[in-house]
């Protein structure tokens, strides 16, 4: 199944997510796009990889994103973990 969302992060940038997920409600592919900033940039690709297989619910997503962000010292500007979770969940209709 496929989904797409456009979400203006409060006080941040415009996040556009493209999502593929399976019938169990787990992410099979996610693309995090938009006009935000992230340091280092390449870490977002890593985050996309790490999100594969994660269940599409608020708690699981937030936990995984925070884990990857902390472990890799990712710094977002114009985006945050909450915003990402919101954008991803918006893809699920």
């Amino acid at each position: 199944m496929e989904g797409k969302s456009v979400y203006k992060v409060p006080n941040g940038k415009l996040l556009k997510i493209f999502l593929d997920y399976n019938k169990n409600g787990c992410i099979t592919e996610v693309s995090i796009t938009g006009d935000f900033f992230a340091y280092p940039e390449e870490a977002v690709e890593f985050l996309e990889q790490e999100l594969k297989g994660v269940l599409l619910d608020r708690k699981s997503l937030l936990e995984k994103i925070n884990l990857v962000v902390n472990k890799n010292s990712i710094q977002f500007i114009g985006l945050d973990a909450e915003g990402l979770v919101h954008g991803i969940l918006m893809c699920k209709t």
Binding site: G12, K16, T33, D35, F37, Y39, V44, I77
Partner: protein, 254 residues
């Protein structure tokens, strides 16, 4: 004696060469081969650059760009899509460890934008920094900026709009729906300005550049000494242009 930084005035180039030069300077500065560098440049032909994280197909009407001869390129910096036409673009490359650059990324945006604000001041334009990455005159955007940090080195580049054609800009960018196109264009016309709009007269590129030079010198208390790319930088830029910025893999990766 004031610290000396290098000033590059590379004139007007294609988008791919422009982005490659910024990256080549970044790499060479990170290796200690060149001093902190400020560069002023323009775009010929006009081009759209998109941010590192943007989807090219989602943002840019590629067929129309090709039809009217506007190039498009993905930047190594985040941020949004920009139509580069009548503008001066600056870039600054400086080691993260340099005392002039705050360690905090948001603070460093403010500091570097301070140089552009001073430069606009020399043109008689009062502007201010509008976080995250804009400079505004009376609330209307005149400059957008984007920064990356790699190999302990900062690269920030940004636009200084000399003139702006919002209708043309939106003919090249994808809008969410045709229904809201007119509304979007009129909103953006309210939110964006240019040197020409503010002063009600055109200022030549070279005059904007000399004001910006003074702005950077004053903000960072340095002397900008006009120089050229090293042969190493030139060769590296050529390679990066071909391997990255001219490649479909890079530009279409999102």
């Amino acid at each position: 004696m004031k610290e000396q930084w290098r000033l590059l005035q590379t004139g007007f180039n294609k988008a791919f060469a422009n982005m490659a030069i910024d990256e080549a300077v970044l790499i060479n500065c990170s290796r200690g081969k060149v001093p902190p560098t400020v560069r002023f440049y323009g775009w010929s032909p006009p081009a759209i650059s998109i941010g590192y994280f943007q989807s090219l197909d989602e943002e840019v009407d590629l067929d129309f760009c090709e039809k009217i001869g506007v190039d498009y390129v993905r930047r190594i910096t985040g941020g949004g899509a920009v139509f580069h036409d009548k503008e001066l673009t600056y870039s600054i490359v400086i080691p993260e460890s340099h005392q002039s650059v705050p360690k905090n990324i948001m603070e460093s945006y403010g500091r570097i934008c301070g140089a552009v604000i001073r430069g606009l001041g020399f043109l008689g334009i009062e502007s201010s920094y509008a976080p995250i990455n804009d400079i505004v005159v009376d609330g209307r955007k005149i400059s957008g900026n984007a920064q990356t940090r790699k190999m302990r080195t900062v690269l920030q580049h940004g636009t200084v709009l000399m003139d702006v054609d919002v209708d043309r800009m939106f003919s090249l960018l994808i809008v969410p729906s045709e229904k809201i196109r007119d509304k979007l264009i009129s909103d953006v016309k309210q939110r964006i300005t240019s040197i020409k709009n503010v002063l009600d007269k055109e200022i030549a590129f070279d005059d904007v550049a000399s004001s910006m030079k003074k702005g950077f010198e004053e903000e960072f208390d340095v002397e900008l000494v006009e120089g050229t790319l090293t042969s190493g930088e030139t060769a590296m830029a050529k390679k990066i242009e071909k391997d990255r910025f001219l490649s479909k893999d890079w530009n279409h990766r999102r």
